[in-house]
């Protein structure tokens, strides 16, 4: 099996896995980073969202080959202590129901706000549209993203 070196949350790791193993399963099963979730495996639910060099990526369809030399950030590395403005907003709004989709939601929102720090409500809905929430906590997800935007301004 090939050996890959990948950088996750600022730390380098060397892993021996088959070349087709998606980043998602490397994170979860080999690096013990369980915050990134499996929902569909075909890039349609967003629960597995991570950042690759700051851009959102569906880790269930990303191979290690594709992330060589790149910086990967997972929910565990978004902030040291859960104090990212989006995490704070998520807590203030009390967004989760079951909670399973929420790490992916936050990662999608974080990458989006970096590109567009002052979005309109419609732009937020559009940006978050790729992330499913089966519990349908969508209304609160929107509120939390709007709150983070507002808090960032003040």
């Amino acid at each position: 099996m090939p050996t890959y070196s990948i950088k996750v949350n600022g730390k380098s790791h060397s892993v021996d896995v088959s070349a087709d193993m998606p980043l998602l399963w490397v994170l979860r099963d080999h690096l013990n980073l369980m915050g990134t979730k499996y929902g569909c495996g075909i890039a349609l639910c967003g629960t597995c969202t991570v950042h690759v060099d700051g851009d959102p990526a569906r880790s269930c369809v990303v191979t290690l080959e594709q992330v060589q030399g790149k910086e990967i950030t997972t929910i565990e590395g978004l902030s040291e202590d859960g104090s990212h403005p989006l995490q704070e907003a998520w807590k203030e709004v009390d967004v989760p129901q079951c909670g399973y989709c929420q790490a992916g939601q936050i990662m999608t929102a974080a990458a989006f706000l970096k590109r567009n720090p002052d979005p309109s409500p419609d732009q937020i809905r559009e940006a978050m549209n790729g992330n499913l929430c089966r519990c349908a906590s969508y209304q609160r997800i929107q509120e939390a993203v709007e709150l983070a935007v507002k808090n960032n301004k003040s």
């Binding site: 099996m1 499996y38 349609l44 565990e76 202590d81 859960g82 998520w90 909670g99 906590s137």
Partner: protein, 708 residues
């Protein structure tokens, strides 16, 4: 109830929600030696006053892990910030209802949880009073501090050791609703910090030394059996540890999930069937034949509907159709099992831990007492995790492989090996004479099983002299079961759409007509009628008022629905506007009477989620079979509602002092009807079949990868 001092300091109070503790049980001396078979759930108070409360019921996103401990903390009279909550494991010896189902956790837990908290509080007060040498009745408590008449104070932590030695008080006083300081507060989800930082909370996240992953190949079509399997492709994959055939299934064991998935895909199986396989067209025809036929079981019969129809000025008859639905919990089914000759250890997401443990004991021919089961947080339930098939598989595979195993479903497995909401058709017929509804006949034709319990006695039962409910079913090989708000999730749509059309044809006012019908139910002595006509009228009036019913803004069309289920009363108004020639739901006002609201934040979350779930599945949910095979396996073929398709949900709760009732389900059933009725107002088009999207043109499923 039992108490004991902890070796490490503090007091442990074992409590029992539903029965007294078994006699002769010795309390443990510290948490490490705690025997869960003796202490199902408990309050732990440390010397420093910190309180740990174990939450008994499974948490599937409905919020009981926050709400149930809130009830204990309220009567215990501690500050919520000092409370730490843990999930209790299964204890079948003492509990009678450790289940997440039917929206009943809070309703059933309400009294016993309050008693538990209040008894513990009294015990602590008695200990303080004894130390001061005063009458306990002179003492008061507030946020974990006990005060006496002289103004002296002691913290709960100061007296826990003495309290542990005292006798358990009986007949303790409960707080009045006005005294509540935690119940009714906006309390955030107790796992919030862990969720937003990605801590391992869920079944899929559970890891144990020596554990391997198993992916299971199951018959691809309902009704098929395994004829043969070629395992060599799977065995040849590096990382595949074993291939195990059990029944008509084949498990591939590997060190990691991806390898197990690949191994499963590399199996080449041949399948066969003795009987013909079923398709959706067959079901469609069979259900219609059932409705047209004469073979029914009558669930309720008042007066004579046939006579009412014969004497009517007008008769309206409509048929409503719904497909199968998969649950699609965001976290696919999975379970951990470690079966050894000595014991069986099970961990994972399950709504029915007790029933599942019994099932496993039976399948493996083991004693129930050998089983210990821990519940993880669960990435959704919706009824799917009431069925422990995946846990049984894990136990079977672990038993055969002789090692700890976690069975993991792929999304495709999750959709293809479901216990689906059954396809159902309703036919409703009503008669009108002299401007009054005189008869109502509801027929149900369903796959596998029919409506149960008190559903045939829901509204309009009791409001009409001539009323009948008849049911019929077809036994299918496709597995079906409970799906959030079973039966009512579609029946509410059929019934409330029917009334909308009936009132329209009668030229009657849609709100007043409902109120008038409910008026007739008042004073009923029929104990099968458990909905309250008065409470129903109140939510109807309030929804009309909050939504601005009758005076919508220009271009806004409204639809009304009201429904009672899971002991709660709900009314909803949907606002629809036309965008690019298509009706779009923009807002839903939802008024709920579920009695005392324990946690308004969690309660609103359930209402918002329930309404959107109802709208989403009514609009898009579709699940067909061809030759026994599901025609959708993942989100490319199965459409769930997404962020830019949702209405704004405004939720309101009736303020009263009634005991709390269900909230995980009741907001869902009326949502489809409110939307359909609004779509009629906007377009003149009546919707009879779900999913609505088939009748509303031009709505596409995203085909390409969507990146935030």
């Amino acid at each position: 109830m039992k108490t004991t001092s902890l070796a490490g300091g503090g007091l442990l109070i074992g409590f029992n929600l539903f029965e007294s503790c078994k006699p002769g049980v010795e309390p443990p001396v510290d948490l490490a030696s705690l025997d869960y078979n003796d202490f199902n759930a408990f309050i732990k108070i440390a010397d420093n006053g910190a309180v740990t409360i174990f939450s008994p019921n499974p948490e599937i996103g409905q919020g009981v892990k926050t709400a149930m401990p809130m009830i204990i903390a309220e009567e215990l009279d501690v500050a919520w910030k000092d409370v730490y909550v843990l999930q209790a494991p299964l204890d079948t010896k003492n509990f009678t209802r450790q289940v997440a189902g039917g929206s009943q956790s809070i309703r059933h837990g309400w009294e016993p949880l309050r008693q538990t908290g209040a008894t513990a509080r009294q015990l602590l007060v008695n200990a303080a009073a004894a130390r001061w040498g005063v009458d306990p009745r002179e003492c008061t408590t507030k946020e974990g501090i006990i005060s006496n008449a002289k103004g002296e104070t002691l913290g709960y932590g100061d007296v826990v050791q003495e309290a542990a030695a005292l006798e358990i008080p009986e007949d303790v006083a409960l707080k009045s609703v006005k005294e509540f300081s935690i119940i009714g507060q906006e309390i955030p989800n107790v796992d919030l910090d862990e969720i937003v930082t990605g801590k391992p909370l869920f079944g899929l996240d559970y890891k144990k030394e020596g554990m391997v992953i198993a992916c299971v190949l199951r018959p691809p079509a309902f009704g098929q059996k395994l004829v043969s399997v070629e395992e060599s492709g799977a065995r040849a994959l590096p990382g595949v540890l074993d291939v195990i055939r059990f029944g008509d299934k084949v498990a591939v064991l590997a060190q990691d999930t991806w390898t197990a998935m690949k191994g499963k895909a590399a199996l080449k199986a041949e399948w066969g069937n003795d009987e013909p396989l079923e398709s959706t067209e067959d079901h469609d025809r069979i259900l219609t034949d059932l409705l047209d036929g004469r073979e029914f079981t009558t669930m309720r019969k008042d007066g004579n509907v046939e006579k009412a129809f014969a004497e009517a000025d007008m008769v309206l008859e409509r048929t409503y159709e719904s497909p199968f639905l998969p649950h699609n919990c965001m976290e696919p089914m999975n379970f951990y099992a470690d079966v050894t000759p000595e014991r069986i250890h099970l961990v994972g997401p399950i709504q029915t831990p007790e029933g599942t443990a019994h099932q496993i004991a039976e399948v493996l021919g083991r004693d129930f007492s050998e089983i210990s089961l821990e519940m993880t947080r669960q990435g959704g339930g919706f009824g799917r995790r009431l069925y422990g098939d995946f846990a049984v598989e894990a136990a079977e595979v672990s038993n055969l492989a002789k090692r700890p195993v976690k069975v993991v479903f792929t999304r495709e497995d999750d959709m293809a090996d479901g216990i689906y909401r059954p396809a159902i058709k309703y036919r409703i017929k009503a008669s009108v004479r002299d401007g009054q509804i005189t008869g109502y006949h509801l027929k149900e034709a369903a796959i596998n099983s029919n409506m149960y319990g008190l559903i045939p006695n829901f509204f309009p039962a009791g409001a009409l002299e001539n009323y009948q409910v008849d049911v019929a079913k077809f036994d299918s090989k496709i597995t079906t079961g409970a799906w959030r708000a079973p039966y009512t999730n579609f029946l509410a749509f059929a019934e409330q759409s029917f009334f909308d059309e009936l009132f329209e044809q009668m030229g009657a006012d849609k709100i007043q007509s409902r109120i008038d019908l409910l008026e007739k139910v008042k004073g009923t002595t029929d104990d099968r009628i458990q909905y309250s006509p008065g409470r129903m009228q109140e939510v109807i009036r309030m929804a009309a008022e909050k939504s601005g019913w009758g005076t919508p803004k220009e271009g806004v069309y409204q639809g009304f629905a009201a429904y009672y289920c899971h002991n709660s009363h709900v009314a909803e108004v949907a606002d629809v506007v036309m965008e690019n020639g298509e009706p779009v739901v923009k807002r839903v006002v939802c008024v709920v009477d579920c009695g005392i609201v324990i946690n308004p934040s969690g309660a609103r979350n359930q209402v918002e989620g329930g309404v959107i779930d109802g709208i989403g599945h009514a609009l898009y949910g579709n699940f067909a079979f061809r030759d026994g095979r599901p025609q959708a396996l993942n989100f490319n073929d199965y459409r769930l509602i997404r962020m830019n398709e949702i209405p704004r949900v405004e939720s309101y709760f009736v303020q009263n002092e009634e005991s709390p009732t269900g909230l995980g389900e009741p907001a869902l059933p009326p949502a489809g009807a409110a939307m359909a009725n609004a779509i009629f107002a906007a377009t003149g088009k009546r919707l009879y079949n779900q999913p609505f999207v088939n009748a509303l043109k031009d709505v596409k499923i995203p085909e390409k990868e969507i990146i935030g």
